[in-house]
């Protein structure tokens, strides 16, 4: 125990003396998580909250345009902003006000929509033999709307918006048509009929595939905080990998063989110290998510209810990062090589593991490749805890992969040190 304590103290002293290493371990991840979360937050809000800021330029004074705007406003999908600028200036206004979309309603919108509805209802009445045969409406011009959008928005997103607008326009047009039919019959349109039309649409129930009825959807904080914590943990390969290479090449490991101690003490001390470092990284970055992010207007990090699972996944992620660093430090021949190979591998693992871009938006083959990344499994563990309120059964594959990964790395490390006769 005295030897282990001395070895741990030595590791801590070495770490404290490595100022740049400490910056890499603690300061850079903090900067990274703040910047990336701020950058990605608006995109996550679009995806998660569906609050689309839309600027409306309405030159129409009729009731149909007002009805359409009311429907957009009531939908809670849009944040409606009104403007008096002309259509020519609307595009510039859209960009100047940092909106995502602008809708221009021309002066003849209501007139044309009402004419179209009347034409359809006249035709229907004629076909039913209630009125005389009328013109089939071929001369009626359909109204048009101009939708301007920020070019960064994806096509499928703008097409979804067009679909929503069409659905609201159909509602307005149907109301007009029914009113026209009742007017033709010189009757008042029953208000309950209109209300019925509005409320009796087919309900589509959206049910997230979550366990135990968990209702938390991912936001920028819930993705970025665990993702960049894991990235920071694995980036300790620069510090620990270099530490191992130095001891291997400086003759320290050889000297240890002549001392009345086992190499296990040295290895354990490194694992203990760097697991604690990884857990400190996690505590620091998660604290930012919980306490600093809300102050900055970012979503607050909601800690998982399964605390034991959270602690276990945190420790397994830390051990995975430490074991990976030991492996790199053992199989490389110099500190430069350890830093280069280690950093590149971590970046590749992060990219394919969904740290930068969530894995679900990648193609199938990339998702398959991604499942070979230890960072993917670490992140998956936190996703299950944070987003799906996962139970132990859901965490089991994650725990299994990480335990296998840790043992494989440790086994290969010891094997190489034995081959080199260092232990």
């Amino acid at each position: 125990m005295v030897k282990l304590r001395a070895a741990i103290l030595k590791e801590i002293r070495q770490l404290k003396s490595d100022f740049l290493g400490l910056i890499m371990l603690f300061v850079l991840p903090v900067i990274l998580v703040l910047i990336i979360t701020l950058v990605q937050d608006s995109a996550y809000r679009i995806v998660n909250e569906n609050n689309i800021s839309v600027l409306i330029g309405n030159d129409d004074e009729g009731g149909s345009s007002q009805k359409l705007i009311e429907l957009l406003d009531d939908s809670k999908m849009f944040i409606v902003h009104h403007t008096d600028v002309s259509e020519a200036e609307l595009k510039d206004e859209l960009l100047a006000q940092d909106m995502q979309m602008a809708l221009y309603i021309s002066p003849d919108f209501s007139e044309k929509l009402e004419a179209k509805a009347k034409s359809t209802s006249d035709l229907m009445m004629s076909e039913l033999g209630v009125t005389e045969t009328v013109d089939n409406g071929s001369t009626i011009q359909s109204p048009e709307l101009d939708l301007y959008y920020d070019p960064v928005l994806q096509d499928n997103f703008t097409l979804s918006i067009v679909g929503i607008l069409n659905s609201y326009l159909s509602m307005v047009e149907s109301e007009l048509m029914i009113s026209s039919v009742f007017a033709e019959m010189e009757m008042e349109t029953p208000p309950e009929l209109m209300e019925n039309m509005k409320n009796n649409q087919v309900a589509i129930n959206r049910i997230p595939a979550q366990i135990n009825g968990g209702k938390i959807n991912p936001n920028s904080t819930q993705h970025n905080v665990p993702a960049w914590t894991i990235f920071a943990m694995f980036f300790m390969v620069i510090s620990l990998g270099g530490n191992i290479v130095n001891e291997r090449t400086s003759g320290s490991f050889q000297r240890l063989k002549t001392l009345p101690t086992s190499f296990g003490v040295v290895l354990t001390s490194k694992v203990v110290v760097f697991v604690v470092v990884a857990l400190l990284q996690l505590t620091l970055i998660f604290s930012l998510g919980k306490f600093l992010f809300p102050v900055m207007g970012l979503p607050t990090l909601v800690l998982p209810s399964n605390i034991i699972g959270f602690i276990l996944i945190s420790i397994l992620c830390s051990l995975s990062a430490v074991s990976f660093a030991l492996l790199i430090g053992t199989y490389t021949k110099s500190q430069v090589q350890a830093n280069g190979i280690g950093a590149v591998l971590v970046i590749i693992f992060a990219a394919i593991g969904g740290v930068w871009v969530p894995l679900f938006i990648m193609p199938d083959y990339m998702q398959t490749i991604g499942s070979f990344s230890p960072l993917y499994w670490c992140l998956e563990g936190f996703y299950i805890l944070f987003l799906e309120k996962g139970d132990w059964m859901a965490l089991l594959p994650v725990i299994t992969f990480l335990v296998i990964f840790i043992f494989t790395c440790q086994f290969l490390t010891i094997l190489k040190l034995r081959i080199e006769k260092l232990i």
Binding site: K10, S250, G251, L256, T258
Partner: protein
């Protein structure tokens, strides 16, 4: 309590993996307690391999190394490791730590108490003129200072046998002189020295017995005087060249 008596090396062979030749070919000799043995030879003769096998860093392909006690039994395991000190050719120090922190770490691994570590550290850093830099990081030290630290870390636990693999490589004359003088003092206290070097003048100053290796074989094993007489050499260099076909 039994004390160290001698080292018996018997029929030691070493062939590295992927090598076609033996680095050591049936080496046998004894090192008695209190001797100062120099293992000399040209590059590739097998000096470092031999020292590494004797002090337990390398496994031999065959043969044995026995550290005998005065009661006839042998030292094994950690008991043996407490008897030996090893000064490697590399610095093998933690350069990000201070001199005292290095001493504290190695002292603890040698199972010394805190008081023992402090007491011996004070003595040794004074002896080696490093008192002013005890709390300075080793990476700022000169080559000569690092060599002295290397030696301090190997004798901290007061070993019976000290292995020195090129202990003065790359140091100036003053540091070399200080190290050699200190090694002689250690020997006077009863510590057995086993020393490997290219420096023949240094070996002449320090060693009373020479084992000359060439291509993995012992070509001479005797006192310097005896060897000089046998070969009618006027200097160790002449002796060295004549026995290694230089």
């Amino acid at each position: 309590m039994s004390t160290f008596e001698s080292i018996a090396i018997t029929d030691l062979k070493k062939r590295y993996k992927k090598s076609q030749i033996d680095s050591l070919k049936s080496i046998s000799f004894n090192i008695p307690k209190g001797s100062r043995t120099g293992i000399l030879g040209p590059n590739g003769a097998g000096k470092s391999t031999l020292i590494s096998i004797i002090c337990g860093i390398l496994e031999p392909s065959s043969g044995s190394v026995k550290f005998t006690k005065d009661d006839g039994s042998t030292f094994e395991g950690n008991d043996l490791k407490k008897q030996i000190g090893f000064v490697p050719q590399e610095y093998a120090l933690y350069e990000d730590l201070t001199l005292m922190q290095n001493i504290e770490y190695f002292g603890a691994l040698y199972e010394l108490s805190k008081d023992q570590i402090q007491e011996r550290a004070k003595l040794l850093i004074t002896e080696f003129d490093l008192l002013d830099v005890g709390n300075k990081k080793v990476k700022g030290f000169s080559g000569g200072m690092k060599r002295r630290v290397n030696l301090i870390l190997s004798i901290l636990h007061q070993p019976s046998i000290l292995f020195l693999d090129e202990p003065t490589a790359g140091v100036d004359v003053q540091n070399k002189h200080a190290i050699i003088n200190y090694l002689k003092k250690l020997n006077e206290l009863g510590i057995t020295l086993i020393y490997s070097s290219h420096h023949l003048d240094e070996a002449e100053q320090l060693c009373d017995n020479i084992i000359l290796l060439n291509k993995g074989e012992i070509v001479a094993n005797d006192t310097i005087d005896q060897l000089m007489n046998q070969t009618e050499s006027k200097s160790l260099t002449e002796l060295f060249l004549s026995l290694t076909n230089g």
